[in-house]
Symmetry: C2
Subunit: 117 residues, 2 copies
């Protein structure tokens, strides 16, 4: 990809100084980085992050009908946000009759938390 831009570190500056010490190859292998990025991306919206915050603090299953009025967006928009969180594995949901109950799956958040520490 763009082989004319070799940009291989020269280890020598124009004035003879090394540009920096060489760097090890990222030891977060690519698949792990992609999982972490997917989780972070799902948290990368104020509404979704607040949703997760509410669900975590509640420590139980919360009905969607409780979540919708907390935010200034339409029901369908909130449903999309919840779907993104589900797709990222951060939350799960259950239906009971008319209602849908959401709760946090702590494992995904812990994985990101572990990477951050």
């Amino acid at each position: 990809m763009s082989p004319e831009l070799t940009l291989t570190p020269k280890q020598k500056s124009p004035n003879g100084q090394p540009c920096c010490e060489p760097v090890v190859y990222p030891d977060v292998e690519r698949a792990h980085a992609e999982r972490m990025a997917k989780i972070a991306k799902a948290l990368g919206d104020p509404i979704r992050l607040t949703l997760v915050d509410v669900l975590r603090k509640h420590a139980g299953k919360v009905c969607v009908c409780e979540l919708v009025p907390l935010f200034d967006v339409s029901q369908s928009t909130l449903s999309h946000h919840l779907k993104k969180l589900r797709d990222a594995g951060i939350v799960d949901s259950e239906r009971q009759g008319l209602w849908a109950y959401y709760y946090v799956n702590p494992e995904e958040l812990e994985e990101l938390s572990a990477w951050l520490s």
Copy 2:
């Protein structure tokens, strides 16, 4: 906003059961949620997350010329990613002669890490 969709929890199901226990209002105030989401969003790309990983592991300042060859994207694309990380406050940079050196500003990551725990 869309006042016909009142969706206020009825606390009563059609069969007389409450839909769920009421939920406290998100106590991550909006501004904090937006800061956290901004940081998470900046980490929500595999290249940027790996960049942060490399910079953190190196525990020093790393020249851009070392970073570019680690990824399969053009130099300008990587520069864009670094700018996003800078804008989110996750990394800072310094110029020395021709080179630019990047390093992690740990405070922002710690703030997200604290929220996650």
